[in-house]
């Protein structure tokens, strides 16, 4: 900062000590701020301009300006609607994971010997490498030799479904995989939510003659609603961006693209056929969807998210 400008600021509001603090404060956050400008802010603006062009990464963006054409094309693109529907179908895993997570967390919220060890076991898939466990589950779901079909055959004598090769079962497979991978973190978060509920609330309700199910419904569920809200928001934001698990387990995108998600299609377009402009438009639509869904959730949270007073 030049000396003249510095003096001006000093004169206006800050005294010397305050100005010194201002400079140091700014200097300390400058790496993070520069990183934000270079790797986030600039790319976002760039992506927006790219989304208005038929840019392939090499040609001139200016010469290939097409206005909102990519967006119009996108809304008429049946494949885009298909991958969007697939992405939404995968989100069925979110409530399943929440319900299982809460039920298991309630069970774990008791002083039982060895329960901490179980908690660790449930958490193992969360810290495991996504690629490695996706490869593992690819093998579990293998039609001919997979673990799952071996067990099904062993128990029932009938050959199991073609998990990853069938348009319907591939979705079930992906949902099973995602619930399995994420369950541990729902449990941990619900457990910490449960530990924040005062014991005397339950005692008081018990004196009033409430049964177990009623306690769960009218005390537990409302009082862990902040955790539910957090899981819902992060689940939806992550759910819109599901990609690597599909890429590893079903590299082709599945029979008739039945496993592909929005980001899978976007990746395919941008890096598979160099349609960077079209890909950018899709990325923006995705960001807008995420923003709208998140905003709706924040608007609606007063209706059901309770806080412990």
């Amino acid at each position: 900062m030049s000396g003249g400008k510095a003096k001006e600021i000093t004169k206006k509001k800050m005294n010397k000590a305050e100005f010194k603090e201002h400079c140091w404060g700014l200097a300390f956050v400058s790496p993070a701020f520069i990183g934000f400008l270079v790797f986030m802010a600039f790319p976002i603006v760039f992506a927006f301009f790219a989304s208005l062009t038929k840019w392939n990464g090499m040609n001139s963006m200016m010469d290939n300006f097409v206005g909102l054409n990519n967006y119009i094309k996108l809304f008429a693109d049946a494949k885009f609607w298909k991958v969007l529907l697939n992405t939404v179908i995968y989100m069925i895993g979110i409530p399943i994971g929440m319900i299982l997570g809460l039920v298991i967390a309630v069970g774990m919220n008791r002083k039982i010997k060895g329960i901490k060890f179980l908690r660790t076991l449930y958490y193992v898939p969360v810290v495991s490498s996504l690629v490695a466990v996706a490869i593992l589950w690819m093998w579990v779901f293998n039609y001919d030799y997979g673990l799952l079909n071996s067990i099904i055959k062993h128990v029932t004598g009938v050959h199991g479904p073609n998990w990853l090769g069938d348009e319907f079962w591939v979705k079930i497979s992906m949902i099973i995989f995602m619930v399995w991978k994420g369950l541990g973190s729902s449990i941990i978060l619900y457990l910490s939510g449960l530990q924040g509920i005062p014991r005397d609330l339950y005692e008081a309700a018990k004196i009033d003659g409430s049964s177990g199910w009623n306690l769960f419904r009218h005390i537990t569920v409302p009082l862990v609603s902040p955790v539910t809200f957090y899981l819902l928001i992060t689940g939806l934001i992550g759910g819109f961006q599901v990609f690597v698990e599909v890429l590893v387990m079903v590299p082709s995108g599945g029979l008739n693209y039945s496993a592909a998600t929005v980001v899978f299609y976007l990746y395919d377009k941008a890096f598979g056929s160099n349609q960077m402009g079209y890909g950018s438009a899709m990325a923006f639509i995705l960001a807008i969807f995420i923003f709208i869904v998140t905003a709706i959730n924040f608007k609606g949270q007063d209706k059901w998210v309770k806080t412990i007073q």
């Binding site: 992506a47 069970g107 039982i112 908690r119 810290v127 593992l136 690819m138 673990l147 590893v248 995705l286």
Partner: protein, 289 residues
């Protein structure tokens, strides 16, 4: 009366002990289901190819073969992937950890203009899907010639990590601001204040966050697969994935499973050692939202 109370509580505790047993057994079954695929992965890495592909179902290796791990570790691609992952992790964790904690200290304890604006800007980036920035970033890195190196994975990390900044800043709110004033009166410089007062205060939280960051770098697949064009610089996860497509052709599943076990092991060990801190910090970020 007192005796009655005692008795009823004893009966209750007996009843609740039975319930505890049942709950434990149910949860244990669930846990077995959760880790069973992973156990199967370990067991099948010791099997022969023929046993895995055999028609009748078995989970215990017969005979036990321990050679696959040696085979994986002798593959130059594997060692190269391991080396590359560590080359990325080391500078990112050291420098990125420094810049993140310095920012967190500044955001939490110093007064400067534009503070809230900059902080909000950083927070907003957590909402932006990676898909939006990956195309421009890819082009940027290509133009700079970085895709033939590990720089696309290293350089962005050096500028700090937003979620760590956010977490550490939350962590510092419990430290009274008066410490800053006292240090100022002692003529302590701002950097020294960070280094000798606040960094030690953040140490525990920072270490936990760095462990989590290491796990993130170790497990990352998306960024390396998009940004790294040269096989020489593939990180471990990318190598594991390419093993999967390469060796599945001749059905060498024991080798694929052994490689996957090795890819999971380090993060798993870190988790077992530091789980108390990791779980605590995850729970905090979830509850505070």
């Amino acid at each position: 009366m007192a005796k009655n109370d005692e008795m009823s509580s004893e009966i209750k505790s007996h009843k609740s002990m039975v319930i505890d047993r049942i709950i434990f057994v149910v949860l244990l079954l669930g846990a077995v289901f959760m880790v069973f695929p992973l156990i199967y992965m370990i067991l099948s890495s010791f099997m022969t190819k023929n046993q895995i592909l055999a028609a009748d179902f078995s989970i215990i290796p017969d005979p036990w073969k321990f050679g696959k791990y040696g085979e994986v570790l002798a593959k130059p691609e594997f060692l190269r992937g391991l080396r590359n992952t560590l080359i990325v992790a080391l500078p990112v964790l050291i420098i990125g950890g420094f810049t993140s904690s310095l920012s967190a200290f500044s955001f939490s304890k110093l007064n400067f203009r534009g503070k809230n604006g900059i902080f909000l800007g950083l927070l907003a980036t957590m909402m932006i899907p990676f898909a939006v920035v990956m195309i421009p970033q890819y082009v940027m890195f290509t133009k700079m010639g970085w895709t033939n190196s590990l720089l696309p994975l290293i350089i962005p990390g050096l500028f700090g990590n937003v979620s760590i900044i956010f977490f550490l800043r939350q962590n510092l709110t419990s430290v009274p601001d008066s410490i800053v004033e006292a240090a100022k009166l002692d003529g302590c410089s701002y950097f020294k204040m960070y280094l000798s007062i606040f960094l030690p205060l953040m140490k525990g939280a920072l270490m936990t966050q760095l462990i989590l960051w290491f796990m993130g770098i170790w497990n990352d697949y998306l960024a390396p697969t998009i940004f790294i064009q040269n096989e020489e610089w593939f990180t471990l996860q990318v190598v594991i994935r390419s093993f999967n497509s390469y060796y599945a052709v001749n059905s060498d599943y024991p080798l694929i499973m052994a490689a996957s076990v090795l890819a999971i092991l380090p993060t798993l060990l870190l988790f077992f050692f530091f789980q108390r801190y990791i779980i605590e910090s995850l729970a905090v970020s979830g509850v505070k939202g």
